[in-house]
Amino acid sequence: MGYNNEGFSIYDLQLLIEGLGVSVWIFLVSTIIGLLLGCFIGLVRFYRIPILAQVLMVLSEFLKNSPVLVQLFLVYFGIPALFAIDISPFQAAVITLSGNTASFVAIIVISSIEAIDKRQLDAARSFAFSEVQIMKCVIFPQSLSLAMPLLVSLAINQLQVTSLISVIGVVDITRVGDIINQRTFEPFIVWPIIGLTYFILAKVIATVGSLLEEKYSAYRMVNKL
């Protein structure tokens, strides 16, 4: 190639590592909040708590069925304008990604609870378990096992979604790529490196995920008669 690489410096590597840190951090924070919030929405909908269940359903349907980028703009530009409050790019990113993750987690929670044979729950009731104990001892362990593969692919997907926060100015891996690309004009070096970074992160999540899947699905993997 006719270009030289003088545009690159050691600080670019530092920048990349910092960006990686930001991406991973936002991914972790929004995934954890999203999981908790999603479980809450899922349970509210599973137990059909009136009004709240319907409101949360409509809300999460719109979160699932609109672009995350638009949701980010709504939170980052829209909410401060309407309510006259300050929201940092980081806060907007966490709020949006958590909400988006939660709306998908809720679906996984509901479907993996509903996949459990209801007769077992009757059996547990007949042994004087409380509903809370049934949730804890009977439903949760099995739902977790059913949900795990879905949660892992959701996590891999949500990692990619984090890249959108670069658009509202969070200096994540993608934003770092953009910065370096603008300066060096070396898209064929910069973007493959950024892409590969995401790829490796995705593989890390997949590996951790398959370990978790194995751990929670031992009972389904046994040799059946």
Partner: protein, 246 residues
């Protein structure tokens, strides 16, 4: 004592139980016979509160099944064995048995395990203690189901068609175990198709037909020459069962 008074149960417009009155004393072994749709399984599910009664009352000793708080006490006294076993698939056989004793009765894990293993030994599947339900045959699952019920040290054992999902060989296994239990002072209420077994094990036979009790007699009386089995509908039922078994 289990006391059932004027029990009605509707599913929508369908009247499944239409005024059942019965009391069952301590130590009795009662077989509830009846064709499919006679309401016999529903009766059991009303006793342990899995179905809400439409009207009438059920009390188990001093506890009222209709009262939410007392229902838990009822359920501690009555253990159920289910037709489809309904073991918890994610737990080993031993954990299936000890889950309720530990979480509901507050037993220590070591103690509960000891009792569980003893029960498994008594039904001949000790070696399956650490297997998952999916690895057991139907007969073994039902034996585990019986252990799970007995681990609660119930005063009453409710048995809902416990052999209907089993082939004849496994049926014999399970019935053998239940027969051993019958002499030990535990009150047992069978819902069953197995006439021969009812004749062998129970001391009282209740015949349910279209949601009402047609006959409620001692076993001897029921099967005697002038007994309940002369009632045309019961006669028909019995001959049909004989054909099925033959």
């Amino acid at each position: 004592m289990i006391k059932i008074k004027a029990l009605h149960k509707n599913f929508g417009n369908l009247e499944v139980l239409r005024g059942v009155n019965i009391s069952i004393n301590h130590g009795e072994v009662v077989s509830i016979l009846g064709g499919s749709g006679s309401g016999k399984s529903t009766l059991i599910r009303c006793i342990n509160g899995l179905e809400k009664v439409t009207s009438g009352s059920i009390t188990v000793d001093e506890y009222d099944v209709a009262d939410k708080k007392q229902l838990l006490n009822v359920r501690k006294k009555c253990s159920t064995v289910f037709q489809q076993f309904d073991l918890y698939p994610h737990l080993s056989v031993l954990d299936n048995i000890t889950l309720a004793p530990i979480n509901v009765l507050g037993e220590k894990k070591i103690e509960a395990n000891k009792v569980g293993l003893k029960l498994l030994e008594s039904v001949g599947i000790l070696e399956k203690a650490n297997n998952y339900p999916a690895q057991l045959s139907g007969g073994e699952k039902q034996r585990a189901g019986i252990c799970r019920a007995l681990a609660m040290k119930p005063d009453y054992l409710l048995l809902d068609e416990v052999t209907s999902s089993l082939d004849p060989e496994m049926t014999a296994e399970v019935l053998g175990i239940l027969k051993n239990l019958s002499g030990k002072g535990i009150t047992m209420i069978f819902v069953t198709h197995e006439i021969e077994f009812a004749r062998e094990i129970s001391n009282r036979i209740v015949f349910l037909d279209e949601g009402v009790i047609l006959k409620d007699l001692s076993k001897e009386h029921f099967f005697s020459a002038e007994g309940g089995c002369l009632e045309p509908r019961i006669k028909k039922f019995l001959s049909k069962m004989d054909k099925n078994n033959g």
